[in-house]
C-alpha cells in the first residue's frame, strides 16, 4: 500500500510559479537597472550587439565544458547556460539540454524576490540552487546564478545548470527508485549564496558536497559553473564598456520583444483550434505497477497558445516534475517546432503562452512528493504530449506541415553505474548512450536515425571507447535497433541498443540503478496514422558464457546468443551486475507519419536490406511482399495490401 504523503506547512513559499516578481516584493537594498523602452537603436548596432550576446552565451557554454570533468557535461552536453535580464526573463539560451535553460528564469525570479533583503544580492555573488519547487528539474540538476552589476545597479543575470552525477539520496546517482517521498532523495537547496564577493563560501560548499557520493566530480562541476558565469560576466561588462549600459540593456529587451512579435505572427498563420494528447508513464517507483497519465490540451487562439494539463493524474512515487519541469518540458517542443527561425528569447515567447498546471499532479507535484526522476519523467511526458499536439496542429497548415515531427525518443533509459575498478577506485556515472534516440518522422520524409534528443539539440552519445576508458566496462556491441522506428508512410528514426559487461573489476560486481518508462508500451507516438516506435528495454543475461566467446576470439552480437538466464528488469530498480552478466538496454526510436500502406514498397525493401525493418514488419504492417532476392513483388504487394484494407473494414 502506498505511503500517505503529508503536506508540509510553510513549504508554499518555495513553490515558484515562474512569474516576474512584483517590484514591491524586492528589497529597496537592491537597485535595478532602469529599462529604457524609449531608447532608439539603429538596426546595425542592434544586430551587432544581439549577435555578440549570442556569442557570449556560446562562450559561456564552452568555458563550462572546458572546466567540468564530468562526461555527463563534457561528452553528453547535459547542461545549459543562459543570459537573463535583471528580473530573470531569458534573453539567450544555449543549444544544450533545453529544459536546463528553460526554467532558470523560475530560479532567478525567486532569488530576486526572496534573497534581495537577506542575505542580499551584491556584486560578485553567486547563488546555487537545485530545488525543484524553486525551479530545478530534479535535485541532480544544479544551477548557479550570477548577478551582473553595472555600478550599483543590477543589470542582468547569467546562469548555468549541470546534471551532477550524485547529490545524495537513498539510491546511487540520486535516482531514488526506493524513496517514498522527497526526504529520501538528494537534498534540494533553495538559492544559497555559494560565492560571496568573488570567493567560494567553503562552509556552504562543504554542506553541498557532503551529501554527494562523488564530491570531487561535483566540486569540479561547481567550478565549471563559476568559470562559465565569470566568463559571461566579463564579456558582458566589456560589451557595456564599449556600447554603453543603456544600449546593451535595450538590446536585451528588444530581443525579447522581437521574439514575441515573430512568435505571435507565426501563431496567427495557424487556424484556431485545440489539439489533445494523452500519454502515459508506468511504474512510479520500485515495486509499483501502475499506469499514470499526462493529459494535454493545446489551444491556439489568435496569437496566443495555451497548454492545459488538466486531467493529468495525481502525483505519485518518483516520477513527478514541478511546474518548472512542465513549462521547461513543453518549451522543448515549442522551440524547435514553432520557433526554428525565431530567437529563443524565452522572456518574449512566454508573453504569448499560458500554462495551466494543476497542483498535486505528476507534472506539478506538491512538496514533499518524490521528484528525483522529474527531469525525465514528468518533464519528459510534458515534452511528449506537447510534441504530438504541436505536430497535429502543424498538420492542419499546408504551409507549415513540413515542419512537424512525430513523437521523438519516448523516454530516457537511465543507467547509473557505480562500483570499484581494479585499482579499488570508486566511480559513479550515468551512461549517456541513449542520447542517440530516434526522431519522429516528418510529413515528407523518414525521421532521422539515432539523431539525438529533442531536449538536447547538441547532446552527444559518448564514444564507446570514452565510456570504456573512464569506467570498468567492456562493450559487446552498440547498434541501431531493427524495427525501432515507428511504421508509416514515412518511418520514424531508429533508436539503438547497447550491451556491456563489467571489466577489470577484480571480480567485484557493478551496482546499477535503472529508471525509465515506456517499457510496457511505446511512448514515442506516431501521428496521422503513423505507428509508435519501439519500447525501451532493460535486459540482463545472468551468468553467461561470455568468457568462452572471448577465449574463442569471438564477440557475441546479441544477448540471445549467450547462454544464461534472461531477466527483464523493471522500469525502476537497483541491481548488481556480476562479471559474467551481460547488461543490455534499448532506447526509443521515433514515431511514424501516415498510413504504412502508403509507403513506397521500394523504400520498405531498402529498409529490410539495411536491417532497419524486419521481414515480418514489412509483410504484416507495410503489406510488402519481397522475393527471395529481396526485390519487391509488386503483384504480391498489391494483393497483400488489399487484403489488409479489407481486414480493416471487417
Amino acid at each position: 500500500m502506498a505511503k500517505t504523503i503529508l503536506s508540509v506547512a510553510g513549504s508554499e513559499r518555495f513553490h515558484s510559479q515562474g512569474a516576474r516578481p512584483a517590484l514591491s516584493a524586492i528589497s529597496p537594498k537592491l537597485k535595478l537597472f532602469p529599462a529604457r523602452s524609449d531608447l532608439e537603436l539603429d538596426p546595425i548596432t542592434l544586430e551587432v550587439i544581439a549577435h555578440k550576446l549570442w556569442q557570449i552565451n556560446d562562450e559561456q557554454g564552452q568555458a563550462l565544458k572546458k572546466v567540468s570533468g564530468s562526461p555527463v557535461a563534457t561528452d553528453a552536453n547535459d547542461f545549459n547556460v543562459v543570459l537573463c535580464d535583471e528580473l530573470g526573463d531569458i534573453v539567450n539560451i544555449g543549444p544544450y539540454y533545453l529544459p536546463h535553460a528553460a526554467n532558470v528564469d523560475f530560479m532567478v525570479k525567486w532569488t530576486v524576490e526572496h534573497r534581495s533583503e537577506n542575505p542580499g544580492i551584491r556584486r560578485d555573488d553567486m547563488f546555487l540552487c537545485n530545488d525543484p519547487w524553486v525551479g530545478a528539474l530534479h535535485p541532480q540538476d544544479v544551477a548557479v546564478l550570477s548577478p551582473v552589476f553595472v555600478e550599483d545597479l543590477l543589470f542582468c543575470w547569467t546562469g548555468s545548470t549541470i546534471h551532477a552525477v550524485d547529490v545524495g539520496g537513498v539510491n546511487i546517482g540520486s535516482w531514488c527508485v526506493d524513496a517514498e517521498e522527497h526526504f529520501a532523495e538528494g537534498m534540494a537547496y533553495p538559492p544559497i549564496k555559494i560565492v560571496e564577493a568573488g570567493e567560494i563560501r567553503r562552509d556552504i560548499e562543504d554542506v553541498y558536497l557532503r551529501r554527494s557520493r562523488a564530491p570531487a566530480l561535483v566540486g569540479l562541476d561547481l567550478r565549471a559553473h563559476i568559470a562559465s558565469n565569470n566568463v559571461a560576466k566579463e564579456r558582458l561588462l566589456d560589451l557595456v564598456a564599449r556600447y554603453g549600459a543603456e544600449t546593451v540593456h535595450a538590446v536585451m529587451k528588444k530581443q525579447m520583444d522581437y521574439a514575441e512579435q515573430r512568435f505571435r505572427e507565426r501563431l496567427r498563420a495557424i487556424p484556431d483550434g485545440t489539439w489533445r494528447c494523452e500519454t502515459y508513464q508506468e511504474v512510479a517507483k520500485s515495486g509499483e505497477r501502475g499506469v499514470h497519465k499526462t493529459a494535454l490540451g493545446l489551444t491556439k487562439e489568435g496569437d496566443r497558445l495555451t497548454l492545459d494539463f488538466t486531467g493529468t493524474d495525481p502525483n505519485i512515487g518518483m516520477i513527478n516534475s514541478t511546474r518548472a519541469g512542465a513549462v521547461g518540458g513543453s518549451m522543448v517542443a515549442i522551440l524547435p517546432l514553432l520557433c526554428y527561425d525565431i530567437p529563443w528569447a524565452l522572456g518574449g515567447l512566454h508573453r504569448a503562452i499560458d500554462f495551466v498546471t494543476p497542483v498535486g499532479t505528476i507534472i506539478n507535484a506538491e512538496f514533499p512528493h518524490g521528484v528525483s526522476m522529474g527531469s525525465i519523467a514528468g518533464t519528459w511526458s510534458a515534452t511528449n504530449a506537447a510534441n504530438v499536439c504541436i505536430a497535429k496542429m502543424l498538420s492542419s497548415v499546408p504551409e507549415l506541415e513540413d515542419r512537424l515531427l512525430a513523437g521523438c525518443v519516448g523516454s530516457w533509459t537511465t543507467v547509473i553505474a557505480s562500483g570499484l575498478d581494479n585499482n579499488r577506485r570508486s566511480f559513479v556515472t550515468m551512461i549517456m548512450d541513449c542520447m542517440a534516440g530516434g526522431w519522429g518522422a516528418r510529413s515528407f520524409d523518414d525521421g532521422v536515425d539515432t539523431a539525438g534528443l529533442m531536449a538536447a539539440i547538441t547532446g552527444q552519445c559518448p564514444n564507446v571507447e570514452t565510456n570504456e576508458g573512464f569506467y570498468p566496462i567492456l562493450y559487446l556491441f552498440r547498434r541501431e535497433t531493427k524495427d525501432s522506428g515507428g511504421a508509416g508512410e514515412f518511418r520514424g528514426g531508429m533508436g539503438a541498443t547497447s550491451c556491456w559487461i563489467p571489466h577489470d573489476t577484480d571480480g567485484r560486481p557493478i551496482q546499477l540503478v535503472l529508471a525509465t518508462f515506456g517499457e510496457a508500451f511505446p511512448t514515442a507516438l506516431g501521428i496521422d496514422g503513423g505507428y509508435p516506435a519501439n519500447t525501451a528495454m532493460y535486459k540482463m543475461k545472468r551468468a553467461t558464457d561470455v568468457a568462452d566467446w572471448f577465449a574463442r576470439g569471438e564477440i557475441p552480437a546479441d544477448v540471445e546468443h549467450l547462454s544464461g538466464e534472461l531477466e527483464y528488469l523493471p522500469q525502476k530498480c537497483e541491481t548488481l551486475q556480476s562479471a559474467a552478466d551481460a547488461f543490455e538496454h534499448t532506447w526509443s526510436g521515433g514515431g511514424g507519419f501516415g498510413d504504412p500502406l502508403d509507403r513506397d514498397p521500394e523504400r520498405v525493401a531498402e529498409d529490410v536490406r539495411n536491417d532497419a525493418v524486419s521481414d515480418r514488419a514489412a509483410r504484416t504492417i507495410y503489406g510488402v511482399v519481397l522475393g527471395g532476392d529481396g526485390a519487391v513483388d509488386l503483384e504480391g504487394t498489391e494483393r497483400a495490401r488489399e487484403a489488409i484494407r479489407s481486414e480493416r473494414l471487417c
Partner: protein, 99 residues
C-alpha cells in the same frame, strides 16, 4: 476546404471528409473518430519489439486504430488505457481558417 490533417479536411458545410475518397465522417463539431471504423488491438500489434506488458504493469493498455470507412486509410492510432474513451485530438474552431 480547410485541411484538418494529412488525411482529413473540413468542407464548406463544416463536415469532416476524407481527402482521398471524399467519405463524410461527420460534423466538424464532433470528434472525427466517431465516424471512423475503429479496431481495438493488443499493444503487441503496435510494434514488433514490444514484449508482454503484464511483465511490468497490472492495467491493460490498448492499441486503437481508426480507419476511413470509405477507403480503409489508417487515419490515426492511439495507445491508451482500455477504459479510456477516444481522445478528441484534432478540433478546429468554427470557420477553421488562420486568424
Amino acid at each position: 476546404m480547410q485541411q484538418l490533417d494529412h488525411h482529413l479536411a473540413i468542407d464548406d458545410e463544416q463536415q469532416i471528409v476524407c481527402r482521398k475518397c471524399g467519405y463524410v465522417l461527420g460534423s466538424a463539431t464532433r470528434n472525427f473518430k466517431e465516424g471512423a471504423v475503429v479496431k481495438e488491438r493488443s499493444v503487441l500489434d503496435a510494434n514488433p519489439l514490444i514484449v508482454d506488458p503484464s511483465l511490468f504493469i497490472d492495467e491493460t493498455m490498448v492499441f486503437r486504430q481508426y480507419f476511413c470507412p470509405g477507403c480503409a486509410t489508417l487515419l490515426e492510432n492511439e495507445i491508451v488505457l482500455a477504459s479510456t474513451a477516444a481522445v478528441w485530438d484534432k478540433q478546429l474552431a468554427a470557420g477553421g481558417s488562420p486568424s
